[in-house]
Structures are given as C-alpha cells and as structure tokens.
C-alpha cells in the first residue's frame, strides 16, 4: 500500500517494543462484539492509475462550464483564475499546513491572512475583517447572530431579495437560538418596505447588493434608519467582483458586510469549498465570529503575526463562544488573496468594468428578442429575464445545444408561480461575444 511506510518487520519490532504480540492487542479496549473480524464490504485497494481512471469516468458524465457557452450565477460565478494562483496554493508548505497555532513556524499562512484581511476590509469599505467563514451563506447566518450580540436585540429582518438559500441558511442557523427572523417575500422589483419594518426590537436588517435578482441599491437611508434605532445594517454581497465598480457597503453605512469570496481565486467546484468573508467596524471586533489574525512583535522586536482575540472562540470560551467555527476556509482565502494581489487596484477595477460591460452588451441583445424582457433597471453582471415560456424547460433545451443559459428561478423558488418563466443570467469576463450570440440565437428559436 503506497501510502503506508511501515514494513512487516517494522510492525513486528514495534509490537515487541510495546510488549504485545499482535495488533489487535492494542484494540483490547474495544468491546469484542464490536471489533470487526473481516474487512468491511467495500472494494479493496487500487493502483493510482485505476483511481485516476474512475474519476475521469465520473467527470465525463458532467458538462463542464468551459466546454459550453456559460451564463450561470446566482451566488457562484465563473471567472478566469490566473494559473499562478493554483500553482502557489499547491505548494506543500501552504497546502499541508494546519491552522497556524504555532506562529513562529506559520508566518507564511499568517502574513497571507493579514494581507487577506486588509484586502477584504478595503473592498467592502469596512475597518476590519476576520480570517474567513465557510462560505457566504453561513457567514450570513453568523452575521445575524453577531448583530444580536452587538445590539442586544433579537429581531432580524431579512430582505426578500436576499439569495433564497442564504435566507434558508439563516433561518436554519437561528432555528434553535433566541433570534427571531422576519423574512420578506421575494421582490424582483425592489419594493421592499424595509424601513417601515424597523422598530426598537430590531437587531438588524439584512440586504443584498447587487440583490439576488441583480438590482443595485443604495442602502444609505436604510442604514440611517437602522442607526436611529441602534440596530445594524448587514449587507450581503454574493458577487465580490461588483465591489470594483459598485459603491461599497461601508460607504452606505453598513455595520457588517458578509460576502461570498468564491469569485476571486476559486473555481465553481459544484458549490464548494468557497470562502465566506465577514467584515465589520473596529468597535465590533469582540462580537465577531471566527478566527482573526493580528500584528505583533517577536522577542527580538521583529514584526510578526498571530491568531488573536481568541477569547471569543470555542477553544477558550466553549459554550459562551461567539461561534462554534474552528476549521474555516484557509486555502480558499489564500487563493483569494493571491488572485487579488495579481489584480491589484487596477486589475480589480478593470475586471469589474469588463464584467459590467459584457453584461450590458448581452442585456441589450436579449432585450431585442420579441417576447423576452430584461426586468432590471440597473444591474452589475447579472440580471433577471422574463421568458414567454417555462424557464426550466428552456434551460434544459439550451443545455442540449451546449449552452448553460442561466439559472431558472423556479430551481430556487419551486412553489412560486411568478418565478416560473424567469431566468437569472450572469455574464463574466469569460463570456465571449460568440457565446452571447449563440445564446441569443437559441433563445430566439425557443420562444418563436
């Protein structure tokens, strides 16, 4: 077995040293009825080449985004990740290190985290960031719990144009806590009357920008109304590339920003692993969940970095911790920060504009199809389209033509008849003009 270095001789010598005769003597504490006599009923070990073959066979049964004209988004976006990123994150010193508990021999991971936290704070327009959450959706649930701690109030109000799965995750995360979550119905046309719902019991309002349907909003007034009630504004961003072009949540007065960071540095991978971002104001850091990296000095006075503020965390505070999170999204944060460093201010802004420009191009083309309507007044790189037919059916037929044409909203709102004909279409820098024309042509055929 290629992964197991002990030889039969080694094993014999070691058992002798231990003073037992056979390996099962070391399992003597296991109730005899429970110690298996035979191997479990699964296949035996396999050569590497055979494993490779099995996975290729599974992979071949999927339709990879890169092989088709591709327009899916809804919280997971296909961007081009420079080759350098994947090369660097596969360095064994990063890939095969644990959480940096011993800072003297973990400065690589720690400094990268410190740079990551700075980048996240900058793009969200906030003061500080933690070292990541599992993903955007779980970060959203954590933000609601954090808002309760920070405001000492329990009622969270969720916008109906928040990603429906983020709503579900938040509902689930607060199911057995003392939080009350008020959930608005979905609204494709920005009709939330969130300000009217705020009262003295409100801990926070959670909104998304651009929202799930692609609309961009300025939440400044909402922030003011919340602050007047000593409540918090939580802004969710599922497409972080938008932050290179759209006004930052910080500039609108957000108190907590959570985001899905997958777009930067991380591939689609069928939904995970991704990287949750959580940024806030300096004064709220002690209510924040998750690990955080801070600057300090070593015994010689040299700058260095450590995990800090751990008195918030489960290993110190146990049942009083701000969260139960332990392992987070380490390597995905590294991919994020490397990609962001490659982009820099210039690249990040250009990337954002390029996404927007291509989305505008496609929206104009789609608007030209008879019977098809783009519902957004404004948008970043994703918008909602109304078709004169069932959108899920349209998507299946497009897939037959090697076009993954977007996400039918019925996939996320299965019981909402209003959503049946609607399609969410995303356009990133990876989409070519030819891809767009193929989609537009195919749609014309379909709706004829």
């Amino acid at each position: 077995m290629r992964y197991l270095p002990l030889s039969p001789t080694d094993r014999t010598e070691m058992l002798e040293k231990i003073g037992v005769t056979e390996i099962n003597d070391l399992f003597s504490d296991v109730p005899t009825t429970a110690l298996l006599k035979d191997h479990v009923d699964l296949p035996g070990h396999m050569p590497e080449m055979a494993v490779d073959r099995e996975f290729r066979a599974m992979a071949e049964k999927n339709m990879p985004a890169g092989s088709v004209a591709f327009f899916c988004g809804a919280g997971a976006y296909r961007h081009y990740v420079p080759s350098t990123v994947d090369h660097l994150i596969q360095r064994g010193e990063f890939l095969t290190a644990y959480t940096p508990y011993q800072p003297e021999i973990s400065q690589g991971t720690l400094q990268a985290l410190y740079e990551f936290q700075t980048q996240v704070a900058q793009i969200t327009g906030m003061e500080v960031s933690n070292a990541s959450m599992y993903d955007g959706s779980t970060a959203c649930g954590e933000a609601v719990l954090m808002a309760r701690r920070a405001s000492r109030k329990k009622k969270a109000i969720l916008s109906g144009s928040l990603h429906p799965q983020y709503i579900e995750v938040t509902r689930c995360a607060t199911k057995f806590t003392e939080d009350i979550t008020l959930i608005n119905p979905p609204s494709v046309y920005l009709v939330d009357d969130l300000i009217d719902q705020i009262d003295e019991e409100t801990s926070c309002v959670v909104v998304q920008n651009p929202d799930f349907f692609g609309n961009i909003q300025d939440y400044t007034k909402l922030a003011e109304a919340l602050h007047a009630q000593k409540a918090l504004l939580v802004v969710v961003v599922t497409e972080v590339v938008s932050l290179g072009a759209v006004r930052s949540p910080g500039a609108m007065g957000a108190d907590i920003v959570v985001a899905e960071g997958q777009s930067i540095g991380n591939g689609l991978t069928f939904g995970g692993p991704y990287v949750g971002l959580l940024a806030t104001r300096q004064k709220l850091v002690r209510t924040m969940p998750g690990r955080v990296c801070g600057e300090t000095v070593d015994a010689d006075g040299k700058r260095g970095f450590v995990l800090t503020l751990s008195t918030r965390e489960q290993h110190i505070r146990r049942e009083k911790a701000t969260s139960n999170i332990c392992t987070n999204a380490g390597l995905c944060t590294l991919a994020f920060t490397i990609h962001m460093t490659l982009l820099g201010e210039k690249g990040f802004r250009h990337l954002a504009r390029l996404n927007h420009a291509k989305a505008v191009q496609l929206a104009d083309k789609i608007s030209g199809i008879d019977g098809v309507e783009v519902l957004n007044k404004n948008f970043f790189n994703e918008f909602t389209v109304a078709l004169p037919m069932d959108a899920a059916e349209a998507i299946e037929r497009l897939a037959d033509m090697k076009i993954l044409g977007g996400v039918p909203l019925s996939r996320l709102y299965p019981n909402d008849p209003d959503m049946k004909n609607r399609l969410l279409v995303a356009v990133t820098e990876t989409v070519t003009e030819e891809d767009m024309d193929r989609l537009v042509c195919a749609l014309k055929e379909l709706v004829k």
Partner: protein
Amino acid sequence: MMNKQGRPTDINTAANLSPGGVTTHTGNRGLEQDELLIYEIGDTQRTGVDLEDLPVFESRLGGITRDNEIGLAGLSEPEVMRHYTRLSRKNYAIDMGLYPLGSCTMKHNPRINEKVARLPGLADIHPLQPISTVQGALDLMDRLAHWLKTLTGMPAVAMSPKAGAHGELCGLMAIRSALDKRGENRTIVLAPESAHGTNPATAALCGYKVKSIPANKAGRVDLPALKAALGPDVAAIMLTNPNTCGLFERDIIEIADAVHAAGGYFYCDGANFNAIVGKVRPGDLGVDAMHINLHKTFSTPHGGGGPGAGPVVLSEALAPFAPVPYVIHGKDGFEMVEHVTGGAESFGRMTAFHGQMGMNIRALAFMMSHGSDGLARVAEDSVLNANYVMASLQDIMTLSFEGPCMHECLFDDRFLEGTGVTTLDFAKAMIDEGYHPMTMYFPLVVNGAMLIEPTESESKQSVDQFIGALRHLVTQAKLGNSALFTGAPYLAPLKRLDETLAARNPVLRWRKTD
C-alpha cells in the same frame, strides 16, 4: 576563528563585527529571507493580469458607483510568485516533517487527490446547472455516501456540513428536531470535561445548556457520574470516541444504552475516527449521529486552516430530519432534493448549494486508493505508531493514563516539575529540533497536556528520530538546561511572538502611514 580552509567560520568574524551585530545588509540569512507586506512592495498602479480592453458601453449601474480609490496593492506576476513562495517557506507542513498535532490527524495528502479534484468535469461545474448535466457529480456524492455509511455501519448520511463543527451542529439539530417532534422539551447536553471546545459551543447554538461529566482515573467517562446526570431533561450526550485523551471509551455500549434508556440521543464526535476506521463501526456502538472530518481521517489537505468537510452519519431515528440537499436515486438517474416540501421533516438547509464537493472528491479518492483492506491498515498503523511513541517515552515523560492508547498518546507536565520549563517552552524547543509541536494544553483534564498523534504516514525511522529528539529534550530539561527551552525557538524564522500584545491592542490590518 578560522576553518580548515583558513577562512573565517562566522559572518561576524568575517565582517569584523562583534557577535550579534548587524550581519547582512538585507537582514536575510542565506535562504532565510524576510518578506514585506504586499502593501509595502506593490502599489495601486501595478498589476499581474492583462485583461481584454473594454467594449464601448453605457453604464447600467444606476449611478451607484464606486469612485474613490480602494487602495488595493497590486504586484506583477513575478513579484507575486516570489512573495508567496517566500512566505510559504516560513511555514511548517506535513510535506516537511512529522506533524504530531494530536486530534488533528496530520497525515500525508496524496497528490492524485489534488489531480482528480481539478478535472474540468468536476472542478468546472456550477452548483445550479441542470441536474441532467451533473450526473457524474451526483454519482460521486452517492458513492462517497455509500463508503461513509458502510464504514460507520449507519443507514444515512448528511453530506452538506462544511467542517467538523458544522457537522456537530447538523447532528444536534437533528436530535433537537426529533425531540421536538416527540413533544419533549429537554434542555441539557452532557459532555465530558475533556470535550473539544466546539462541542459545548455547538450545544449552545442549539439552545442547550451544557453539563460537564467528569473523567475517571482511567481517562474515560465516569460511568456512575454519567448515569447520575441522566434524566428526563437530558437531550443528548456528546462524546468523542476514541476520546480526546486518545483512549477508547471501554464502556461505550453501556453509555449508549444508558443514554437511550433515559430517552436521550448519543452524538459521537468523530474527529478521531482515524483510529478505528475499518476496524470498528460506530453504528455497532449505539451511536445516533457522528460527524466525520474528511480533512482528518480522509486526508483532504488542511490548507493552513481549511477548507474541511464534516458529513454526518445518522441513525434510522434521526435520518428523516437530515438537512437538504441530498441525492436520491430517481427513475432516470440521480436526483437531488433541494427543498423541504410539504410534510417533510428535514430541519432545513445548512449552506447554500451542496456542501464541500472539492473535499468529497479528494476523500473518495483517498478511500478508493486504500480500499477496505488499506483503511483498516490505516487504523492499525496509526495506533501502532502512537503506542510505539508512548512505549518509547513513558519512562522519561509522564503518561497521563495507562495504555494501550489509540492513535494518539497523552502526556502531561509532571515530568517537567522543578525544571523551570513549561509545556509551552517544551513545545517551542521542539521547533528548534525541526518539528511542529504536539497539541498542547488540550484536553483540559490534565495539566500542561501534550497530545501526540504521529498518524500512519510516518515510517519507523521517522518516528524513531522524533522519539530521539524528545528524549534529548527531556534529558536537557532535567539536567537544568532551561535556557534551551525558555528562549525557544531560537532557530525559527521568528522568535517567540507576543500574543498578549496582539490581543490587547488588536491591529488586524495594514494601514497607510504618513
């Protein structure tokens, strides 16, 4: 001093400097290079990407634009390569040496797993593309589920939890849902003193109060104390097995029976499954729910703190409450249930999309490579290595509890009494010997805990060298050479870091100064 070639032996002599003087212009020492922050190297003008030119277009951002500078530092590609390569060299890693971090299972990370995880057919698929276009992905999830259920002897598995702690939450939410359905309002979760911090933190997130169960002299749950604590208000026990002292809970079946008899559920923390995989099925022990850290037992890389994955196996009684989504076999292939619809008892959704597919791929590759025979060997060799370490050190270090141990062995700081050396000092001196320290000060049931987990990936030579290093350090401590420890590490990229300062005055990001 001059060497055999008649040249100076150290840089201070060569440069006519007194020892400890500034030795190099750069501050670097050969291959040991200092590295500035990206913000101190790059600027907002530089970039490491070339993007296509913008087409002519009219903005549709509704005027809600970002106009001020963000302040992001960019670097060109060669600078990026160098920055992160230099940083990487300041990390210890399993690829460099034995990583005896108890409870963390730092084993070899096979690269075939990385390779297959990057196949476009697996890496480049969107979570919401039509189900008909991802049949291979669902097949993979279904296969992994089958392996997990078979290895644990449990009938169901929830695949979406993102790490161990998330899996704990999944298990406890299923338990609470089952109790709610029975109309029972139980308020307490029992957990041994030795429990990992995530256990009580998770219980609190489910609205439970945590009651601590003491350990007995043998390092196991004190059965009479447990029985006394059980009652109609106890929802569940959360028990790690093998436990965090590295010991198999001998009374586990009796514990499970007692908990069940009192109407509660048995949550098993499966972080230490490595010791028993392929040898013992938790389902045979009376477990109702158990998470499996794919990033421990099944070797998905730790990546400097994740990502992980924490699927949860569930008993028949808890299976109906499992979160969405899950894969089912439909008439035309695999289907996915993504919504909780009318009458279903699922407690909801724990994450957007479907969980940690990238980790599922790697874990399944690890399992298939080993097979049922190899996985049993994994457990045996990990237990053998740990017992060998224990047998080779117990004459000079103080073993907390009598063996045999499972995949890790626990020492405490009694052997350091009177030496002026603490567990922390001892751990830092291991760094100078070229090792990552063991887990220290956990579990909390002994003083100055040192929890050593060598894993099955270590050869006998490697373990022997490690034992040699520890014996050397213990001897030095006992000889009174405390300076070797209290100032350690001496040879790492940085000296000991001031963690108090970091916490007192949190500086969590770079800021422009001038």
